[in-house]
């Protein structure tokens, strides 16, 4: 007897999006639609359960409409005899003062793991026969710092056992990009020979611990250019005493991609540049039901470098590209765009510009000099000390090209 379930995580249903208004609305809708598609999939394939490993919601204060939508989907699952099991994460903590504690959607087939103590639940099929055991634990607060995985018990028996947890596995890829909540390590999972660990928190789909059935499905719908690629869930068929191998199923209709663009046209024609970028976008593979949201990272020398640094020039270009290619969103990053110049000559000729470039270089490695050069008062409020220096270094990073663009006569290019 196998235990078949769909593993989702990090739905972030009420996310605050950036970008243009149309993009924000599309993404908001796409997140809901992706969850509805996942539910459809679970019902259609008669899975035993849908496991959500935390962060169902982005904001603890859900809108009523989203709450109704969520309740509606759970009702559909319950009517189809599919279990819905969710472990609370840092965005939807299960403590009594948080929204998840009072959703009012639970029934005999809907269960939330709200507290840090692991709870065991036997999942049955539609006829009431047990098919698997799920051990789950949740974040009681939005800043859970304890290692919850360490407390998961060993469960003997003939049923396949699945661990459900929202955790930051330290060895996982891009773990550093996420807050370190409920941290766990490889040893936590090695000690419990579960058939599968359904984790959440890291938005990058991956096997979190090599050699062990510990998986992040990634978030359900990419929300920004950092969350690229196809997004969806993992379909798992678990057997007792064996490690399960998940299969990815795409549910998201909007896919974010970051596209490095090198070899910019040598001409100073904006139209030519736009055509070149549009070709790059068109070359991106996509599914028929997918819409792309792209961040184009331009790199290289172009006579248009100065204009490409201007927001007033970039935004119309991005909108034009979106209109040309049908992409949902196009963002342009041009920090690495430069004028075609002999930089060695610029640096070596006696000039204030060369002096300033040298000064920037020295300040990069001389904190005292950097502090001396910094404006007396900064507009962005940062703490004094290391944070201030880090901020100043961050500011310093783009200055050489900025100075070059501003200091050299545009006609020179």
């Amino acid at each position: 007897m196998s235990f078949r379930f769909l593993h989702l995580a990090d739905l972030h249903l009420e996310t605050h999006f950036g970008g243009r208004e149309g993009t924000r609305e599309n993404l908001r809708e796409a997140t809901h639609a992706a969850f509805a598609r996942a539910v459809d999939y679970a019902i259609e394939h008669q899975l035993h359960a849908l496991l959500a490993a935390g962060d169902l919601f982005d904001d603890p204060i859900l809108s009523v409409r989203t709450e109704l939508f969520f309740a509606g989907q759970l009702k559909r699952l319950a009517q189809a005899g599919v279990w819905f099991l969710a472990a609370c994460g840092n965005h939807d903590p299960g403590g009594a003062s948080f929204r998840t504690a009072d959703l009012g959607v639970e029934n005999e087939r809907v269960r939330f793991f709200r507290g840090p103590a692991p709870e065991l639940l036997r999942v049955t099929d539609r006829d009431g026969a047990p098919v698997g055991a799920v051990i789950g634990a949740g974040h009681a607060s939005d800043q859970e710092s304890a290692n919850l995985a360490a407390a998961f018990p060993h469960v003997p028996g003939s049923l396949p056992v699945v661990g459900l947890l929202h955790t930051s596995v330290e060895s996982a890829k891009s773990a550093a990009d996420h807050d370190r909540y409920a941290p766990s390590t490889r040893s936590d999972f090695e000690r419990r020979p579960y058939a599968y660990w359904a984790l959440g928190h890291i938005h990058l789909r991956q096997q979190a611990v090599p050699g062990l059935p510990v998986h992040y499905p990634g978030n359900l719908q990419g929300r920004n250019p950092r969350e690229t690629g196809a997004k969806g869930g993992l379909v798992v068929e678990a057997f007792a005493g064996a490690s399960a191998e998940p299969v990815f199923v795409r549910f998201a209709r909007v896919r974010w991609e970051r596209v490095p663009v090198r070899g910019l046209p040598a001409s100073a024609s904006f139209d030519e540049l736009a055509s070149s970028l549009a070709r790059c976008i068109d070359a991106q593979p996509r599914e028929s039901d997918e819409r792309l949201a792209l961040r184009l990272e331009l790199e290289g020398e172009t006579p248009l470098a100065s204009r490409l640094r201007s927001r007033g020039e970039l935004e119309p270009l991005a909108e034009d590209l979106a209109a040309r290619t049908g992409a949902l969103e196009v963002q342009l990053r041009t920090q690495r765009v430069a004028l075609p110049l002999d930089r060695k000559l610029l640096r070596e000729s006696p000039s204030v510009l060369a002096e300033a470039l040298a000064l920037i270089e020295r300040a990069g490695s001389d904190d005292a000099l950097l502090a001396e050069l910094a404006p007396a008062e900064l507009a962005l409020a940062v703490d004094a000390g290391a944070a201030r220096l880090a901020y100043l270094r961050e500011l310093l990073a783009g200055l050489p090209e900025e100075l070059t663009l501003r200091g050299v006569e545009a006609e020179a290019t």
């Binding site: 009420e14 996310t15 809108s63 009523v64 000729s349 000039s351 204030v352 060369a354 300033a356 501003r406």
Partner: protein
Amino acid sequence: MRFRRLHAQVFGVLRDRAFELPPEAALIFGANESGKSTFRSALETILYGFDPAHREEHELALWDGGAGGDLKLEALIERENGLPLRVERELLSRGRLRWTEGEADFTGPRLGNTPLECVSGLSRALFRAVYSLELEQLAKLDGDVQAHVDELLLPQACALPLRPIAELRNELRKAHQSLWRPDRRGNTRANELLEEARRQRKLLGEAAARERELRDARAEQANLGSEIVALESQRRELDRAHDDAPFLGRLHEWKRRSHALGSPVDLAGLGEFAFADPALLASEIASCKEAEREPNARLARAPEALGEPERAVLAAAADIELAGPLAGEHRSEAQRRDALREDLLALQAGAARDVSALLGRKATPADLDAARTLALEALRTAHANWAAARSAPVGSLLGPNPFRPLVAAVASFALAAVFAWLAPALGVFASGLVFGAAALGSMAVLAAIVASRRPSPAPPQLAGLLAGIAPAAGLLDSPEGLLRVIERLERAQETLAKLRACEAADAALAAALRTREERIERLCARLAIAGEGDVEARVARLSEALRRSREREQRVELDRQERLRAQEKLEALRPGRERLEAQLERVEAVLRSIEPQATGSAAFARVEVRLRETRSLAELEADLRRDPRFSGCEHDARVAASRDPLAAEWTPEAMSRREGERAACMQALTAAHARHGEITSLLREDPGSRQARAADLVRAAEDDLAETQRERDRLALLDSIVTRAEHAFREQHQPDVLRRAGAYLERVTHGRWRKIAYSEGPGGGLFVTGGEQGDERLAIRPLSRGTLDQIFLCLRLGLLDHLDEGRERLPLVLDDALLRMDDARRAAVYELLSEISRRRQVFLLTCQEWIASEAERALKLRRITLTD
């Protein structure tokens, strides 16, 4: 380059004025308004062109209203390579340039108002600020020129075209100050975004409030759901009570009344009869008898019958009715016969009158018979023959026909008239011929007269034809007389024929009248009706008898029918009365059995009340039993007969109270449903994610703000770095300009001030080093005007050297620039200018005689006086 000749054909006050200029230095002297400034402007115009380039705008073109013609200058310039350059500038509608190498004539088209090639890269403004100076301009360096000079003071040597550092710094400063300022002043982008972020946060708060409202509404909806369930339950109870209470009330009423009634009234003794009031029955019986009284009286009277005469008359009714029209017919026929008889008498008189006239005496009946039978055709034949015989001798002039002689007479008289007309032609014979013809005519007239009077005898057969008729004398003497006889006879025969027809009709009428009279007489006799009087009187009597008989017949029939009806009525009334009598008997028996103590109507009334109650209860019971609730409620204690009806829950008061509760419940339910629907709509129409959307905008504003602040810090850092770099660069590379200027200043001030320094930024500017202590560094502001003039002159001299590095050295023009210098320093300046004039041409312009004289001596110049 050096100006060797300047020819101002038309240029302000300078008109056709040619100046031969020395190659090193020239002293231009002139009083005010003599053209010194114009001369300076002419030099600049030769180098850079007209300014402005349009004739309509150039002040010198307008100087005399254009009376002198277009502005025109020509110059001969000696270049540093030794080649001469002739230049001509003319301000037509726009400035024009012609130039040629050497002394050759100008060829080729005129060029535009462009600067000469030897001044390219050096702006007119810079030329004015550095090369061509007057006293007031000496200490002024402003705007772009200042920036350029600043830049010149930075001797950068980059192969790439760099923007002026001052321009870059200004741009950076403006940029980061437009984004954010430490003093928080101004309408910076950061302030705008802060305001936007505040606004969006406020909207976020409103969105959160709205979400809370929706959540409250949702909670309210959930509560309403429970409330609706409770109200529905209550309403069902009240509905049930509403539905059951009347039934229970009726059930209770039935039981209570049944209990009060006791045993039911038994009317079995009535049999088939209804239970009725005996008094009423007796009254009805009396009424029946009263109704029988009248038909009985009718039947008691003797019946009406017809007599024999009346029967006979009625039997002959058809004949009598026919006699009426006969009487009228008879009367009209009698009247017609009377008229006929009058006609008969008139015809007889007429026939007698005609025959009498023929005969000439009174005609007898025999004459009339004879006249009626005469053959008139034969008489007409005889008359024709006679008349023919009378006109028989046709060829004789005297014959019986008198017309022929008359014709002859007319012809003769006509001939006579012809002869008389022809008398002149005929001559002597004329009168004879006229006479003869007249005589012949007269004779013919006479013959006609004779012929007309000649008698004719009657035909012999005429008497036979008139057998029995002897016409009066003379009638048969001529055919005309005979014709009159025939005509009279014919009229008499016609009258007699009519007479005979009248007589026949009269006889027929008389016979008919007699027949009718006899018939009426026989009818009267048969009916014993008096026969006296005429037919009409008899018929009237017959009709009267018939009318009376018929009236009698009708009375008999009416009587019969009345009797019949009376009989029928009696037959109809009798069974009812008999039934009422039987019913009365039964009712009295039943009443006696039920109410022995009472009698009559009183007993009946009591029994009837009980009877009505019994029936009402029976109906009520039947009705109640039809209700399916009956079996369930029949034994319910609430409906027991002994229960106090006032305490029952189905009393009107209790029911009214419950109705009130039910109405209130319904109202509350309706309100709850309405509110529930409102909330459902509210939730359905809610776009959702309000807070997330608002938070998007807050985040966007905050991101924008952070990005703006980061951008400001970046630009401010860059500004700081550039400033620091510039400072370091200046420190590291002492500008050649300042060094040269310092050297000039040291010579001019005789060593008092040795060095000029320049720094940018706040507190920056020009500094001089020297003074009493020798190393004093002073900002130039507090120095005297004369010293300032010397500093700026030296700075310009340093700039000249720097600017002309590697290019044609342009002339230096000083317009009374030395006025505020003391004698010693002015002398030093002259010495310096003398030295400079060996490298570049120097023009000294002055209106001061003493300056001019002094310069002439110091520089060994030949004065060029503008007023010459």
